[in-house]
Structure formats: C-alpha cells, structure tokens
Symmetry: D2
Subunit: 290 residues, 4 copies
Amino acid sequence: MLELRQDLNASDQVRHSIEEVLAVGRTAWQHYLFFRSKVHGVCVALDGDLQSCEADEGLYHEALVHPAMLAHPAPKRVLIMGGGEGATLREVLRHPTVTEVVMVDLDEEFVGLCKRLIPDWAEGAWDDPRLELRHEDIVAYLDHTPGGFDVVVGDLIDASEASSPAAELYGPEFYRKLAAALAPGAVLATQAGPLTPAQVAGHRRVRGALGSVFGRVVSYGMNVPSFYSLWGFVLAGAADLIPGGYAEHRALFELRAHERGLELAHTGPEALAAAFALPARLQALLQGAA
Amino acid sequence: MLELRQDLNASDQVRHSIEEVLAVGRTAWQHYLFFRSKVHGVCVALDGDLQSCEADEGLYHEALVHPAMLAHPAPKRVLIMGGGEGATLREVLRHPTVTEVVMVDLDEEFVGLCKRLIPDWAEGAWDDPRLELRHEDIVAYLDHTPGGFDVVVGDLIDASEASSPAAELYGPEFYRKLAAALAPGAVLATQAGPLTPAQVAGHRRVRGALGSVFGRVVSYGMNVPSFYSLWGFVLAGAADLIPGGYAEHRALFELRAHERGLELAHTGPEALAAAFALPARLQALLQGAA
Amino acid sequence: MLELRQDLNASDQVRHSIEEVLAVGRTAWQHYLFFRSKVHGVCVALDGDLQSCEADEGLYHEALVHPAMLAHPAPKRVLIMGGGEGATLREVLRHPTVTEVVMVDLDEEFVGLCKRLIPDWAEGAWDDPRLELRHEDIVAYLDHTPGGFDVVVGDLIDASEASSPAAELYGPEFYRKLAAALAPGAVLATQAGPLTPAQVAGHRRVRGALGSVFGRVVSYGMNVPSFYSLWGFVLAGAADLIPGGYAEHRALFELRAHERGLELAHTGPEALAAAFALPARLQALLQGAA
Amino acid sequence: MLELRQDLNASDQVRHSIEEVLAVGRTAWQHYLFFRSKVHGVCVALDGDLQSCEADEGLYHEALVHPAMLAHPAPKRVLIMGGGEGATLREVLRHPTVTEVVMVDLDEEFVGLCKRLIPDWAEGAWDDPRLELRHEDIVAYLDHTPGGFDVVVGDLIDASEASSPAAELYGPEFYRKLAAALAPGAVLATQAGPLTPAQVAGHRRVRGALGSVFGRVVSYGMNVPSFYSLWGFVLAGAADLIPGGYAEHRALFELRAHERGLELAHTGPEALAAAFALPARLQALLQGAA
C-alpha cells in the first residue's frame, strides 16, 4: 500500500493511504502528487505537503476567500497569489461585484495538471472572461502590476517553517511591496499555517509581517478534516476592517452574502463568524512575542 | 522508538511518538498507558485510544463541562459518569453553586493510577468534601441513586464505533434510565466522538439517543490538537435550554461565568459560544438519517 | 514523503521510503509501481508487493536461475514463467548451452514498461535471437507448447497466501500439466516465498505440490536485503537431481560454471551451495504437515 | 496499538506491533522494554533496539556461541561480555568441557529483570556453579582479571553506528587489552551488526579492529527473522583457526558437537558451516576499505 507520510509536529505523523496515484512527477518548480484517498477523495500534494482534498476543499476555500471578499463593500479587482487548483478562483468569481481577477501562479505546468485532472474544482472558472491568468513570479509581477486591487487572496504553499522556500512571500518586505498595489480600503486574506499551540510560531510570523503594513490584522481558524488540525488564516486591512466581534462579523457576512446571492454551502455565515472566536489560550499564544 | 498508532478513519493513521512510558498495564476493566509526548506532555490512553494529554486537556475539559454547567442557572447536584483523570471533576467543582458531586467510575485501579501519576490534573479535587466517588457500574448505580441531579457530565470512553463495549452507555435505553435520576430543568453534556464528515455516524447515534429522551439536543465541537480532529460534544436538556444562537450563548456564558467567579482560561465565553456554530455542511450531515 | 508499506507477517510492517516515483498505474492485469529508493536503487512493485530492486536483483536472480541451470548437464530449451523485468532471462541466456528460451509473461504492458524503464536489467537479452517472448496465459500456453524443456524457471508473483490470484500456478494440477512439457531429466526452479517460521506455510504448499509430480524436491534460501527476509526457492527434478549435500552442490556449481564461462558475481558457487543448508529448525518446519 | 519502530537503514523502517508490554523503564545504564509480539513471542529491546525474541533467540545464540566454542578443541575458561538475557550463558554451559564462565554485564538491574521476566531463556544457567556473574565495566574488569580465557563471546549491544556508546568495545584498543586476557589458542566470537550492503561499514569496522590483534578474522552471517536481516558475526583467533572452508567447518562442528553431546536444535552443523559461505558481492564489500 502506498502512503503519504506527513509530520504533524515534532512528535507525531499522519499517514494517508493512497488508493490510486493519478499523477506524480516534478514540474520546473515543485514535486506534485495527485491521488485518490478512500476518505478524502482526490487529493493534491506539493513537495510532499497536502494542499487540498476533494472532500473538504470547499470548506477550506470558502474559509480562505469569503471573509475577505465579504469584508469589502464592493470588491472589483482581485489578486490571487498561487491557488493553482482553481478553487480559490472559483470562490472569488462567485462575487458578482468582481470585474477582474488577476491570478498569479508561477507554475504553469502544475496549473495545467489541475485543469486536466481536477477540472470540476474550478466549475468553469478557468474560462471566465474576468480572469487574467499569469505564470510568473509574484514578486516580479508586483514590479509591473497596474495595481488597484480591492482584495488580495494568498493561497501560496505553506511556509510555517521559517526555512520554507516560500518564506519570503510571507515576510514584511513582500507585504510592503504588495501594499503599493492595493486600492484604498483593500482587504487581504492568506492561509497562514496550522493554529495549534505546538506550531503557532509560523502563524505568528505571518501576523507580525502583515502587522507591519496593515492597520488591522485578525487571525481566524477552521478545522479542515484532511489537514488534521485547526487551519489558520489571517485577514488584514485598514483599522476599521470589520469592527466588533462575532455578532458584527456574522451580520456583515450574512447581509453581504445575501446581497450578492452567494451561498456558503460548506461554511455558512455563522461558522465563518465563529472562526474568529479562537480559544483564549491560543489567542494568548498568538499575542506572544514571535 | 515506541509509538502509539491510532486509526483516524478508514484511510489514515496518526502515530504518537512516546518519549517515556510512565505506566502501562491492564486493570480488571481496560488496558491503560500513561506516557510522555514531546509535544503533548503526559498523555493517557485506554484500550489504545488517547483520552487526554496534559497540553490540551484544559481545552477539552472546559469544553465538556462548562456549557452544561453554565446553561443551568444554579447547578447543585452533579453526576459525572467516568472521568477517571479527575479533570472533569476539577472543572465541575469550580462552580461555587455545586454542593454535591457524585462521580461514578467503574475502574478503581485506573482512578488510583490517575491520583498517583497525574495528581496535578485534579488540582485537589479528589479531596473536596463535596465529592462522593463511587466505583461501580453506572447502570447499576442508576438503580439505587437518590437522583435529583441538576447536571450530568458524560466523560466515558468513546463509542463512535457501534461495536464499542461502551456503546450501550450512549444508547436510548440508558438515557431513559438516566432521565429518571434528573431534577427538573436538568442539563446533560457528553463527549460524542469526532465531528468529521467521515466519522459523523457515531455522533449522530448519540444525538439520536438523547433526542428520544430530551426536548432539545445541540451538538458543538472544539478542535483538540492532540486528537487531530474537531471533537464533538452534545448538550441536552429541556426545550428551552439556551434559546437562540451565538449571541445568547455567549451572553449567558459570560454572565454566569462572571457571577460564579469562573475563569475559562483555555476556551473563554466567545470560543465556547462559537463551538456551537458548526459549519453548514457538517450540520447537514448531522441532521441526516442515522 | 511517499512510502510503500508492506506487511511482513501478522505483526510487523516495513515501510520503504520512495525518493521518486518513476511510473505508477494499472495494466490490464495488475497495478505497477517503479520507484527509486535511496538504499535499494530503482525498485519494482506489483499489486503493492516489492518484486526486485536494482541493488540486489542480481543476488535474487542468480539464486533463482543458476542452481537449476547448473544442475542440468546441458540445458538447451528453457521455459521462463513470468519474469517481466528481463533479469531472469538475462541470467538464463548467460549459459552458452541454451539454444532457445520461451518466456511467457501474460502482461505485455508491464514487460513494455520494464523494457523502457529498466532496460539495463536485461543487458540486451530482449534482443537475443534465442528468445521467444509470448504474452499469454501460461496455462493456455501449456496446451499448445511443443514442450521438450530442459529447465523451467518460475518467476511469477508470490503466492505465499493461499488466496493469491497466482495460487493455482503453484498448485499440483498446474505442475502436472507442466510436467508434460518437460524433456527427460528436466529441472525446475521457482521462487517460493519467504522462508521464515511465521510464514513457512506458503513455501510448504509449493513444495508439496511439486512433490506430487517430481521425484526430488529441495528447498533453498537466500537473504535478499530489500525483501527483509530469507527468500525461499524450490529446486525440483528427477530423483537423482544433485545427489549429496553442500560439497557435491558446490563442486557441481563450480565445475559447470567454469565450463560455461559463467561468473556468479553476486552469489558464487559457495554461497549457492550454502543456500541449501537451511537451519535445522526451519528444515523441521518445512517437513511438517502442510 | 503500541509499536516499536526501528530504522532498518537510511530508507526503510520496520514496525513491530506490541501485543503487551511486560516491563518498560530505565536502569542506571539503559532503557529497557520487554514486550510480547504475536509473531515473535516475548522480545527484549534496549535503548529502542531489539535484542532478542523468544521465537528465534535460539537461532541467534547458537550462531553466536557454537562456532567459537567448537573451533576450540577443549574450551575450559570462557568469558561472556554482556549477554544479560542469559541465553548466551545457557549455550556456553552446554559444552561439558567448560569449567568456569565469567559473565561480565554492567547492568545488574537489567540482568535481574531477565532473571525474573524470561527465566526460561537461561534454562537454569543462572544457578550453574561454574558461573561467576560480575556487574562491572568490562574494560575495568580486564584490568584485574586473572585472564587465561579459552573462548570469549561478545554479546554486547550493537555498535554498527560509529557513534554508539558501545563503539569503543568494538575498537582496536579494547581488543588489544582483551588479548592479554586470553589463553594460547583462544577463540573469540562477537555479534557484529547487520550484514547487508547498505550497512556493512559497521561490520567492517569490527573486523578491522579484530584484525589488528588476531591472526585470522572470519565473518559469518545468519538470517534472524525478527531482525529482518542477515545478522553478522565475527570469529577471530590464531592463524590456523578452522582451516579451509565449508567441508572442514562442517566436519569439525559435527565431530565436536557429537563428542560433547551437543545438540544444535536451531541451526545444526550444516547451517553453521554454511553461515561462513557469504555471497560473493558481500564478501567483496567486506574486503573493501573501511
């Protein structure tokens, strides 16, 4: 039996049984593995790290995309960093306010594999006329972007480990550069690694980097079953980004989702709002020094 | 290296590295293992299933105990089923309204091991004069209990698998019997297995059994890091048990915790309230046929 | 990290770390996996069972082929059953007495993959004019074979488990059919599963089946590092097949290898002869009732 | 399920399922684990490395002890280094020529555990009047030993890794010191780590160290099922120690075993002699530079 082994932390490992390998190999940038799991359906791993599984990618991508999109009163221009599976794009395009999405994913071959192997995940988004799909380095793109983005969604590979090749894309210099490409009132969301006490350092680094650029930085978490942990996200924006707590979040999410005819089938406005109410001890750890 | 292997579902396994075995053996009722994990601290496993770990047992036990205790306006008599580690007892006794706790844990030897090996977990609760500790079968105890319990907390071993030896303690017959021992307006909380789509059947069974006896049955979940999943609990009581949603839960938890001088160091009133706002798709699965 | 997990017996498992997947998929007959291991080089697995690894396939194939070939005074016509990697063929063709080899391997696609992915293993054998390569069922082939084989080498997938799909190819009926295709004085060798006390039943079954057809049946074993066990083979033939013990085996192997200009680079005549001197307790288990 | 994980080499791991832990803890010198395996019976591990299992310790200990004892015409005084389980002692005492055995095992507590938990393994040897059991450092013991040993058996923990704490006990300095305690014509045998191409360095180091002191150094191997590899031993002595090859070894082993009324139930004279006929490629690796 083939298995994908992943270190969960310094003590524990999870092993995913692989029913069938759909594709495996190496692009110019990374190692990819598409496989079928009995429990999680088709799954995608990059450089040995699970990225998304059919069974709960809806939960993950709704949690990644919608808080930021709904926090903005009328997001028109959206930048997606990474997101090769096409599911982040799918969720962004559900907002009828959107007129233009620039998706920058370095790895053309990987995106091609996703288009071919998991076309359903994009639900036609690849053909949406609002999409400008670019295969170039995101840092390079920021040098010549016309900018003016209302929302930025970061769906890059995880960089919880400071040694990750993607670590600079979660650092203060990068975010400063990114800030220049934002429209006034812009909102950013990014995945930010697992939110567990043993691994909170990575998330805290991302928060810290965003805090040096944005007026308000908020963490939230969603339990993604196939990741076997509470997964962390960060929402960043101006100081008045979603004032208040759960009640205001929920009201805002519900109202705007309704206005935009947006169904949140996997999460719902309540669960999205609740995602911001992290346990007290975890919050204390997040506030701690990096 | 010694490892504790656990099946997470039909596909995946987690392996906990064991730094040191503190005690291992078999009582008259079950196999026990106390070990030290580099990440989770001292952990307790029964019959090969992880029960609690030092690093996050506070999170687990606060989530298990306080929603029920706070949902009741003035819990005096409390029944704990199982809970050998002493941590459930510790949390229950934090409520100054409590005048009497009957804790029924069949396995005297296991409770003795907990008293000796993890005495800190109980924070003196074993010596509290309000405690009546009984080592007998909970079904037998219900035959001769004086009853009149305001709150019941179920901290028995997991029975997500219908074939578990504890399965009957999560069934409708048992709950009917238990109902006779309750005071008017009583509230029950029980752990109810993992809340993940792949394993929701066990939780649904517990809900269904409680629903045949109690007017209102509500599921909630808390991500417990060492369990590698969103852990499920059920709160049951009269039809008017905590009306409304998050805002009401939170207000109630905050108010009563304040009144009782109760600090919720690991969770907090917000996270406890948010625990009831489960993702939409999971809710749909929970409502589905058993 | 990708791993190939294999059950070693009812208790233990081995996990092979996979550096790189070279090919994975399913032919009409079986699931195949070609991968690179840091320790064992390129490895081939069929239906999840490791077949051969670059680092020690020489050891395995010399042990499989040469005792039978050297036990025969002048093997001309040889039948290979299975052996898709081409390495069994390579070893057979090293004997200059050979004028014709019929290799029957059902799975044309798998043989094609071996020709393309591990061409070195065959050392040109695929192009040898003495080879007749047939892709058909071996049972069907025996119905129309001209027969007259001096040596038969069985390199079929393991059938230590009685439930294996290949089990009938190690059974008495099959061997009776095969006997009709043999020249007088023919010798047969087959791989016959692991030779460990916990798994000896499979080997004993093969021995028993061969014993119902051949006058003499002898077991031998070679430790193949990547298999993590002493691997078993059976040599069968007429009653006077290699008389005596080690000294005679060794003398015969040495003499005939010398005559045929055959170098046994991985094993040598001594180790091949010693392979027949199995530990006493294992011999007793092999003689036990099936 | 509890498992004992062991690295087999730089790629692969084996996991032993543990049916029951019999004892686990730490002496002043090492971590011990006695457990029951469904396949291997009671097993003993030290510092996480499997030492012996009930199901095949007979094979291991016969292979360790008897070649050396039988190579000596009349071994009277024997020194055992390590060997806490008592099984090496048991095999040594089977030779009626023996008048005195000094067994030096540093770890009194571990030996006490073996006496209590696996008393059968010693078959009464602990009470044999010929035994002098000492719990002291073997290096210290050599400073005050009366010496005059005919046979020395090294059953110390494996030091295949140069970084092992026991590494010095397999080094040239130690062996020079040991040489001073030998009677003329003395023979030494020691376990010497796995004999697989990927791990041959450790064995070669032991050989090299012995070669700097003894006139003749010979490697041999026995497949020990629970070790999942061909296990290596080294026999060392004067230049004329067992002249010739298999035939001479076997004749000598058979003759002397017969003279001494010694039954080799697990191995037998043939398999012991065959153990010296290592595969050609392995021999070449052993001869290679360290």
